[in-house]
Amino acid sequence: MNLRKLALTASLGAFMLSAIASTSAVAATAKEQFFPVLVTRTGPIAPNATPWANGFIDYLKLVNTKGGINGVKTVFEECETGYATDRIVECYERLKGMHGGATAFQPLSTGGTFALTEKAPIDKIPLITAGYGRSESQNGAVFTWNFPLLGTYWVGSDVAIQYIAKKLGGVANLKGKKIALVYHDSPYGKEAIPVLEELSKKYGYSVQLLPVAAPGVEQKATWLQIRQNRPDFVLLSGWGVMNLTALREAQATGYPRDKMLGNWWSGAEPDVADVGEGAKGYSALTLQHGAERNSKVVKDILAALYAKGQGTGPKEDVGSVLYMRGVLSAMLGVEGVRKAQERYGKGKVMTGEQVRWGLENLDLDQKTLDAMGFAGVMRPVQTSCLDHMGSSWVRVHTWNGKNWEFPSQDWYQADANTLRPMVMLASGKYAEEKKLKPRTPEECNK
């Protein structure tokens, strides 16, 4: 290597560094509400996270075709995280200041949620974790900036037990039953455990915990244990390729699929499609919605975007389970902005702090939801300072070999009497550790 080459390398390096500096300084543009989108389009999680991201972005585009949020257009920026916490943090730092400031972050990762929970209060950006994240963050008095809207894993666990009790013909029959939990060995998977153990004391069933190391392609030992112990039910908390592997192993082990119940991240098309008939009878909780190809919002998206070739992903995915979750997640963020505008000025761009107020005072009744095209997709949601979740309705859908369908129209609601004390206890512990003072009702109303 001679001097010329060395100089060339050095100048190339300098050019690259200047590129970082230049791209991180993006000027604020007027009248645009910026939604950062953390996506996982590569790696073992990609089949599941991609439809979510496409749904999320399609909904933001749909809002723009309808004139934006009271005239304020949405803009978005993607950042690939690969489901790695350090990349999520990098993306967060990269996106938080773009286009005049981020509206709200939705990391789609429980590990990422934990990391961002420490950062969001400093930057004053709300964190929406629809159907994931930390369960105790439901208590908005302590977790001012977290919004686990529509449900947490604790809600999921409680409903799972309700569902099993119903199948068995009453809670009395739970006594002496063996329930195994096959979970992703990470904060995400572990979130389900406390409620299952709490309820086992109440109902007298036993819980067997079977962790699966990420990413979850190696489950032979787990299913050998299931073959030996023959639990009455198997609950699955998997994500991405782990779900598919679990169902394949269940098929190989001969464990009845109709005794298996997944959480709402283990019940989408990518989880079962490759197993097809082999997964028939497998059920999963839903975050209210299932695959909603006939809903009005999906038809709107198809007409407004895909008919004109402006769709984000493949057309077949539109209306699938995780696509709908992306749509719902984006909708909740948009509605938070809309609510904030009611207070801080219609047609203005909202800051993260203002959106936080909007999310805390979200009140979507059935009429509003129907008008937006969410009839039959979800039920009303109303948040408050003490309840950042806003709704705890769950349905259960079953794979029939080709599609996810709702065998019954039953809605389950998590038992607040069980969960509320646990939420208060865990959030109290967090507040104590962080030396935080929970907000008083007066502070909440500010």
Binding site: M1, I20, R41, T85, V89, R94, T117, E433, K434
Partner: protein
């Protein structure tokens, strides 16, 4: 021309044995340190601090630790991530379980605990070598993964296994903004780098290098392999453990064992191989290459795409990032198997002879 040592006469042993015997080197290093402490805080924005500089500093420190073991003592390790985890969790437990524990002490105790664990996992190095040792250290990785996932005491019985720290401060100096965090990590790195540089020049460093070059010969001339190898493991684990504690406390603030997975171990090993085995400078080059390059590629590709009028999808960028990154690793290893540090010293040689190449 500028870089020439003619006329610099050493008149005392102290002058001859100083860290940087060539005046230009000395001034360059001082200049870089002053630049990092004074100019960088004035020049860069929050994103650069949080997403690039802080991770770079901390992983440089870890790479330095790995380089001591792999580069100087010749003991291949795949357990660096494990020692980072030990450092992080030990520091965490000292920090929350002992009332009023100063942050600095927690971090150093984290490093110290990691050093003890390092000695334990270094024992196999007395019997096995090379790839077999790499496998033995890999056991450390799986062992710590298991410990921190399964034993709730280490994570303060946290329900999800995730732990976090906040309100960090050193004697009233709040570590709450990126600038302070950057300066804190930089101070750590400066002290540790100086320590490493001096250690490698002293008796102990020479023992390590003798063991690396040929352990039987080293033993014959009176170097105790037990002491040399285990001290390398201890010092290396101390560096890596402190880096782990910084990574957890200062960079992440909230973490889970997955932050120190086997991927991290590989990453650190690649850093020292690409940067240059047996070179303090190389640790920095390697860390820069592995930490900064993927992010630069990730941000640069869309710009290049815009330039030629092609919109690259997010997934496309991510894939291209891996392809280019992998390609560059292979390119550098073929072109310069001794790492980026060798390129640096070749460059310096040329500068010395300039303008008359030999």
């Amino acid at each position: 021309m500028l870089y020439r040592e003619n006329g610099q006469f050493k008149t005392s042993y102290a002058a001859d044995q100083q860290v940087f015997p060539i005046a230009q080197d000395r001034w360059a290093v001082v200049g870089i340190v002053v630049f990092a402490f004074v100019a960088v805080p004035l020049l860069v924005d929050e994103y650069m601090f949080r997403a690039i500089l802080i991770p770079f500093l901390i992983l440089s420190l870890a790479a330095l630790g790995v380089n001591i073991l792999v580069g100087y003592c010749g003991q291949i390790t795949l357990g660096a991530g494990a020692f980072m985890a030990v450092g992080a969790y030990a520091a965490y437990n000292f920090h929350i379980r002992v009332e009023g524990m100063p942050l600095l002490l927690s971090l150093l105790l984290g490093g110290f605990t990691s050093a003890l664990v390092g000695i334990v996992f270094g024992i196999p190095s007395l019997r096995v070598r090379g790839l077999y040792l790499a496998v033995a250290t890999l056991a450390a990785q799986f062992f710590t993964d298991w410990v921190f996932l399964r034993i709730p005491w280490f994570t303060d019985n946290s329900l999800s296994g995730n732990v976090s720290v906040s309100n960090l401060q050193v004697m009233g100096w709040q570590l709450n903004n990126p600038l302070n965090k950057y300066l804190f990590c930089l101070a750590f790195l400066t002290v540790f780098a100086l320590l490493a540089k001096n250690m490698t020049r002293s008796a102990i460093g020479r023992q390590w290098m003798a063991i690396r070059d040929m352990d039987v010969a080293a033993e014959v001339i009176g170097i105790r392999p037990l002491f040399a190898k285990l001290s390398a493991f201890a010092v290396s684990s101390f560096f890596v453990g402190t880096a782990g504690a910084l990574w957890a406390f200062v960079h992440l603030a909230s973490w889970e064992p997955a932050a120190f997975s086997v991927d991290r171990s590989f990453q650190l090993l690649f850093m020292v191989i690409i940067g240059g085995l047996g070179s303090v400078m190389g640790s920095f080059f390697g860390a820069a290459f592995i930490v900064i390059l993927p992010i630069v590629l990730n941000r640069l590709l869309p710009e290049i795409g815009d330039l030629v009028g092609v919109e690259i999808s997010t997934a496309g960028i991510s894939h291209a990032e891996l392809i280019i990154f992998g390609g560059l690793i292979i390119f550098f290893l073929i072109k310069e198997p001794h790492g980026l540090a060798r390129l640096w010293s070749t460059g310096k040689e040329k500068l010395r002879l300039w303008p008359f190449p030999h």
